[in-house]
């Protein structure tokens, strides 16, 4: 932590050309990655990153500067750069920083970087070989273990001085099944906002086997037909549908500038009454959770949709100025290299009333998307797409043959009304979300849901 007096000096300098807000975000991170392929752990990388970013706001205008020089002169240089970019000197106000403490809701027992590297390699190999040995059809496995330990602090011209420690831990396995001419893959990528102790919680062999099972199943799967049909999406990463179809379009990042279909729709019905959706950054040790936002505000649980009615957007400080609504503590950034903007944390559709067996049984001819891949959305038009990684046809209410190669597309605001059954057993899965303020860890989640109609892009016969 840089001395309080130096930080105050830098903030005063940053504000000296008429800005109405100044903020310093500093970070020191230690990252470690182990990669395995061809039965060997052949890559190991450890990185240390230290950097600082200074932001000033004047009204809704944002000026940002960052660099790797975290010394006093480095900070003053950055502060002078942002002040100069705004305009000439207009005088300096005093700023007094009051250190603030906060509760640590996401205990880190052993910071990941101090976790014994041999233990990490051992667990990684367990998962790797469980996948490799699953079947003769598994031709290759690629596995990695990635850890991040990040110490940050934030100081701003409102007098806030606050620090935080975050640890991330993630294991990833991709199994490739091959019949000599064709490849199919299956992936498992669990992660948490936790230290090394995360590895103790994992069933590593089960993870490896599951990745392999998916790859082998898809190798023998038929091509998914292409047409509009009802889709049942299983729990877990199926939550990506809400993340893409709705979540991004509720961030102030788009809403504040009028670039979302959900602008000016607070308290309106924007989804089927069966859909209640939450963004909750307080879930202990969840992948997308934070104690404080990247602007130093307390992270909270936000009800986005209540029975289909829009109750809240996700708003950061700048979005708050644009929209005239209070911040929801949603400001996040990948690192000191980015100015923050409103982002999601752990976003999920809440449990509903329908029974999972009834959801499947309700479909005469449709698709059961057991595992979803990622996707993307254009918040301006709300057109989204996402990939099905493991799918099955549903015929006469029963799960039938596996199918592969399907992408689901649609328009977010339409599809929300078509979620007409919401089941039980809400589960979340981990992803990396990309946007204006960089790539950040987020959870997506849902129980099993049914979408009455969706364009399924497979290969036509």
């Amino acid at each position: 932590m840089i001395k309080k007096e130096i930080l105050q000096h830098a903030l005063i300098r940053a504000k000296s050309s008429g800005a109405d807000f100044a903020e310093i975000f500093s970070e020191h991170s230690r990252n470690s990655t182990l990669n395995m392929i061809d039965d060997k752990l052949d890559e190991a990388v450890i990185s240390t990153v230290s950097g600082v970013g200074i932001r000033i706001l004047k009204g809704t205008r944002c000026i940002y500067a960052y660099g790797n020089d975290v010394s006093e002169s480095g900070l003053i240089k950055l502060a002078s750069a942002v002040a100069a970019a705004l305009g000439p000197d207009t005088g300096q106000d005093d700023i007094l920083l009051s250190p603030l403490t906060h509760a640590y809701h996401h205990p880190i027992v052993i910071p990941s970087i101090r976790g014994e590297i041999r233990y990490r390699a051992e667990r990684l190999k367990e998962a790797y070989f469980a996948a490799k040995e699953y079947s003769d059809e598994i031709a290759q496995v690629s596995a990695s273990h990635h850890t991040v330990d990040r110490d940050i602090f934030i100081a701003n011209s409102e007098g806030l001085l606050i620090e935080d420690t975050r640890s991330y831990n993630r294991l990833a396995i991709e199994a490739i099944a091959s019949d000599g001419t064709e490849n199919q893959s299956g992936t498992m990528r669990p992660g948490a906002h936790m230290g090394s102790e995360f590895l103790d919680t994992l069933q590593t062999k089960e993870l490896g086997r599951e990745a392999a099972r998916c790859a082998v199943t898809m190798l023998h799967a038929s091509l998914c037909p292409a047409r509009k049909m009802p889709v049942v999406m299983d729990n877990g990463f199926g939550g990506v549908i809400f993340h893409e179809a709705c979540g991004h379009s509720l961030e102030a990042t788009s809403v504040a500038k009028g670039n979302s279909v959900f602008c000016n729709k607070l308290n309106e019905q924007i989804a089927n009454p069966k859909v209640t959706a939450i963004d909750d950054g307080t879930i202990p040790n969840a992948w997308g959770s934070l104690n404080i936002s990247d602007e130093g505000e307390t992270t909270r649980k936000i009800v986005l949709l209540d029975k289909g009615i829009l109750k809240s957007y996700m708003i950061d400080k700048l979005g708050s100025r644009r929209m005239g609504l209070p911040s929801t503590g949603s400001g996040r950034r990948q690192s000191y290299k980015y100015a923050p903007t409103s982002r999601m944390t752990n976003t999920y559709i809440a449990e509903g009333e329908d029974k999972n067996e009834e959801i499947i049984a309700s479909v005469e001819n449709g698709l059961y998307a057991k595992k979803m891949g990622g996707g993307s959305v254009n918040p301006i038009t709300c057109e989204f797409n996402f990939a099905v990684l493991e799918g099955y046809m549903i015929r006469n209410g029963k799960i039938a043959e596996p199918v592969r190669g399907a992408t689901l597309i649609g328009k977010g605001h339409e599809i929300l009304f078509n979620i007409d059954m919401v089941g039980k057993n809400m589960e979340m899965d981990q992803g990396m979300c990309g946007s204006e303020s960089g790539s950040i860890p987020t959870n997506v989640g849902q129980p099993m849901i049914r979408i009455s109609e969706l364009v399924v892009g497979g290969k036509c016969v």
């Binding site: 752990l41 052949d42 890559e43 190991a44 990388v45 450890i46 990185s47 240390t48 990153v49 230290s50 205008r61 944002c62 000026i63 940002y64 500067a65 960052y66 660099g67 790797n68 942002v82 970019a85 590297i117 041999r118 990490r120 390699a121 290759q140 690629s142 091959s178 001419t181 064709e182 490849n183 199919q184 893959s185 292409a226 047409r227 509009k228 500038k257 009028g258 670039n259 891949g373 990622g374 996707g375 993307s376 254009n378 301006i380 038009t381 057109e383 989204f384 797409n385 996402f386 990939a387 592969r404 190669g405 992408t407 597309i409 364009v455 399924v456 892009g457 497979g458 290969k459 036509c460």
Partner: protein, 451 residues
């Protein structure tokens, strides 16, 4: 601390530790970005960066560590981290630290004229992009983004086998995203340019092209599900190549992550398909005199008239196959291990104009945008199923705009299904290297639509 002083201290310590082969890879540079909204500066950012990667070879293995803190105090941590990695690294294919070559090509990747462009000029360019887009037609209701960014950076590689190399480059990047609206529906389109030559930037043309396309797509409808003859327009082709170039990576081939293994010399594409990787291209942005291992850059044909001629190699993969490196040993970022990437990888253009290519298709689809490339495409399998939009063509001419489609296929099949291409090579945005392409006509792709 100065990089040369730091290297001296670090190398001295490395010798004390008994490391026999080691190397430093150091980057530094600066960036500038501005976005305007309604004629005013909305976002403005400047930054400097530096990063140092240090790698040590022991037997066949290489341990990688990095830091941004160039201070004597970092050295203990770096050495500690190097040793920590060696606790778990396992004997695999040999990796190499290279002593250097006697000759490196002379390529110009730094434009001093570009370095003279002032922030005010860049702000004015962004303003002009926004203004021209808004003035194009009243259906353009606002501009989502009008932005200009620029950067310059240098790379320094030095090892204890005699290699000492330096290169620097700069670029400017401008883009505009107008939003068109009619009857409550909205649509956006993008025009961009990334170049070292400011003479190439035509903000009026960029703004008008993007605005026109945003408006044209307003009335877009879907098409019945089916297989269609398709022209993938050059910008969408660049995105597709950017997703699938790794099928040519020797690393992926050797690991069974590409289906081109064992196919050298075989016909894997159409007769008129030639794909080249050229790090010496005069104007493209992926140009370099040497790769990140210090191998001198040279051009190579990956596919020549449909025949697979070369994979992309670095030193490790080349040694495994008993061939020379093709100079494609690169690091994704300064901290990354050396892997493989293209430099400027492009499909050689054909002879037809764009209009002639469409006319040749007769009836089918032009795809102008593919979405979901990071999730709906898999280079290991070749399969893709992506969001798509564009135009329907009838009687050799554009009939109407289409959207809300999925385009599905397999990249390996696409290489065989090339019918023809136009004569205009477009370069995409730098990612892992830069991909370029003309607009390409294919026999068929599968489309699912809403009809």
């Amino acid at each position: 601390m100065d990089i040369n002083d730091f290297c001296r201290l670090l190398f001295h310590r490395a010798d004390e530790e008994g490391f026999s082969q080691y190397e430093v890879y150091y980057v530094e540079g600066e960036h500038f970005q501005v976005q305007v909204l309604n004629g005013e500066i909305d976002k403005y950012a400047v930054n400097t960066y530096c990063g140092l990667s240090f790698r040590v070879k022991q037997e066949k293995l290489i341990s990688y560590v990095s830091t941004t803190i160039l201070d004597e105090s970092s050295i203990d941590q770096l050495i500690d981290d190097i040793k920590n990695n060696f606790k778990v690294l396992e004997s695999a294919d040999e990796q190499f630290i290279f002593e250097g070559e006697s000759f490196y090509p002379d390529v110009n990747t730094f434009n001093p004229e570009l370095a003279k462009v002032t922030p005010l000029q860049k702000i004015e360019l962004a303003r002009q992009l926004e203004r021209e887009a808004l003035n194009y037609d009243k259906k353009i209701v606002r501009v989502h983004t009008a932005a200009v960014s620029s950067g310059e950076g240098s790379v320094f590689i030095k090892n204890n086998k005699g290699l000492s190399l330096f290169k620097k480059e700069n670029y400017i990047f401008a883009y505009v995203i107008p939003i068109a609206s009619e009857n409550g529906t909205m649509n956006s389109a993008i025009a961009y340019i990334c170049t070292r030559d400011t003479n190439e930037i035509d903000p009026v043309k960029m703004a008008r092209t993007a605005s026109a396309e945003a408006i044209e797509q307003l009335g877009a409808s879907s098409v019945p599900t089916g297989n269609y003859k398709t022209v993938i327009r050059s910008d969408a082709m660049c995105d597709l190549l950017d997703t699938f170039w790794s099928v040519f990576s020797a690393d992926n081939v050797q690991k069974g992550l590409s289906l081109l293994g064992g196919k050298a010399g075989e016909k894997i594409g159409a007769d008129n398909l030639t794909i080249i990787d050229d790090p010496l291209h005069k104007s493209a942005l992926g140009t370099y005199p040497f790769d990140d291992e210090g191998i001198a850059a040279r051009s190579k044909n990956l596919i020549e008239n449909g025949i697979l001629k070369n994979y992309l190699y670095n030193l490790k993969t080349a040694a495994k196959d008993g061939v020379s490196s093709t100079g494609n040993g690169t690091k994704a970022s300064y901290a990354s291990p050396v892997s493989v990437s293209p430099s400027n990888l492009f499909i050689q253009p054909g002879n037809l104009s764009y209009e002639e290519l469409i006319a040749k298709m007769g009836e089918g689809l032009i795809i102008t945008e593919l979405t979901g490339l990071h999730s709906g495409a898999n280079a290991s399998t070749g399969e893709f199923s992506l969001g798509a939009k564009g135009y329907y063509v009838k009687n050799g001419k554009i009939a109407y705009a289409v959207n809300q489609l999925t385009a599905s296929g397999n990249f390996y099949q696409l290489l065989k299904d090339v019918l023809d291409m136009d004569c205009n090579l477009l370069w995409g945005l730098p990612d892992d290297g830069v991909c370029g392409s003309p607009s390409v006509l294919f026999k068929a792709l599968s489309f699912a639509g809403g009809k």
